[in-house]
């Protein structure tokens, strides 16, 4: 059942400062609207509460990728298409491109934004597992100033975020992964190959020294109320050797304590748990140089 379109107001700020001022004045009564790929779907379904929206799509200063010696910064309005087109991301942070490429299809990738994907706070979003595996930080701005939050701490519960009503998510910062030895493994298990919502999503990045796992981070989607970083599993893996025959079993046991999947119309708890374990084992096979 469609929404009553006249019940929605939209205001367009002149720039970031103006946007932040408006947010400071109206707080939660003013909802940011970027590429519309989530909010407009809710509108069609009649599930978007009527009210006022802040059209930030035109804020050019929030769009684009900047690269420094040790970090890559994505403006919040950087689209998936922008991500796909960027050579440094492809070389050092390839899971972002893989995630972008599997989000919707071309028309969605042209409008969907990295920031929107985060603040929509869907546990099934495609980029968050990769952001978690890359140790991202998010930047929030308000008239009170800016602050950075480790992305792993940003989602606090289903659709709950560490974002004040007057704050706008403006950027995502990622440490560069240029050092030798990094192996990346991203796999979205969706309902189909395009235009798909994930049933389980796995992103793992590890730095190997020979067959020793020197450093590892794992992010999961669709298996918890939030995009999930997996510290317990990472702890089991860190400092261990891939040749260790007991490793896969121990890691699988650990990740199944961290993932808390449920049944829904897209999949089952049972399937999600099993496949989470399988993807972790596949990650270890990839690290060991297999498939």
């Amino acid at each position: 059942m469609r929404a009553h379109v006249p019940s929605y107001e939209v205001e367009t700020p002149s720039g970031l400062a103006d946007a932040l001022t408006r947010l400071s004045e109206h707080g939660a009564a003013l909802r940011p609207l970027a590429g519309g790929t989530d909010l407009m779907v809710l509108l069609e379904a009649g599930h978007l509460p009527p009210g006022r929206f802040l059209n930030i799509w035109g804020l050019r200063e929030l769009r684009g990728v900047t690269v420094s010696d040790d970090a890559v910064t994505l403006g919040a309005l950087t689209t998936y298409a922008d991500v796909l087109a960027h050579p440094v991301l492809a070389a050092e942070l390839p899971m972002l491109g893989l995630a972008a490429r599997e989000t919707g299809a071309a028309a969605i990738q042209n409008r969907g934004t990295v920031g929107g994907n985060i603040v929509n706070a869907s546990p099934a979003a495609d980029t968050p597992p990769a952001l978690l595996a890359y140790g991202a930080e998010v930047e929030l701005a308000s008239v009170r100033g800016t602050r950075r939050v480790p992305y792993a701490a940003f989602h606090r519960g289903y659709k709950q975020m560490d974002r004040a009503p007057d704050e706008l998510l403006t950027a995502v910062h990622l440490p560069r992964h240029a050092a030798p030895g990094w192996v990346h493994c991203y796999r979205k298990v969706g309902t189909r190959k395009a235009q798909s919502i994930s049933k389980v999503c796995f992103a793992g990045a590890a730095r190997l020294q020979g067959d020793l796992i020197a450093e590892v981070r794992i992010g999961l989607g669709s298996v918890a109320p939030v995009p999930l970083r997996c510290p317990a599993t990472e702890a089991v893996l860190t400092g261990r050797r891939l040749s260790d025959a007991t490793l896969a079993h121990a890691a699988r046991a650990a990740i199944l304590t961290e993932a808390t999947p449920i049944d829904d119309i897209r999949s089952t708890r049972e399937y999600r748990a099993e496949v989470t374990g399988n993807l972790l084992e596949q990650f270890l096979r990839v690290l060991a140089g297999g498939a």
């Binding site: 379109v5 006249p6 939209v10 367009t12 407009m40 509108l43 298409a81 409008r111």
Partner: protein, 167 residues
Amino acid sequence: MGERTEVRFEVNGREVAVKTWPMGRLLDVLRTEVGLTGTKEGCGEGECGACSVLVDGVLVNACLVPVVQVAGCSVQTVEGLAEDAAVEPLRQAFVRANGAQCGICTPGMLMATVALLREEARPSDARIREALGGNLCRCTGYVRIVQAVREAAAEMAGARADAEVEG
């Protein structure tokens, strides 16, 4: 209640000014206020691609774009495409290869194809399937659509090469 607001933009090279609800979908504005019904609605949620149009040359789902966001932009629809002789081989290929059966997905397929071919003149079949991944067709199984795009790409690339030689 919000208020109707005036939004000015360009459609197929012509200036339009509409007074409409700001959250109104570009799709509805094109079909009703502008009166161009070639852009179709299949799902209203960015899933089927029947409403694909180009905004400033970029492929979007018109059902997911609030009209305020195209203020000052240039929108191209299938009707605009129909005025573009360079795209004629694509239309002919869709008819010839039976890429259009019931026809409801066809305007969107054409727009997505044009976006693809502007990026990549001679895409592989895999690339064509990926680029059309957001355009659902229930009639064809996609076989003849992929064929139509492949044939049109060859013809259009050939025409461009000829033009360069002559030029």
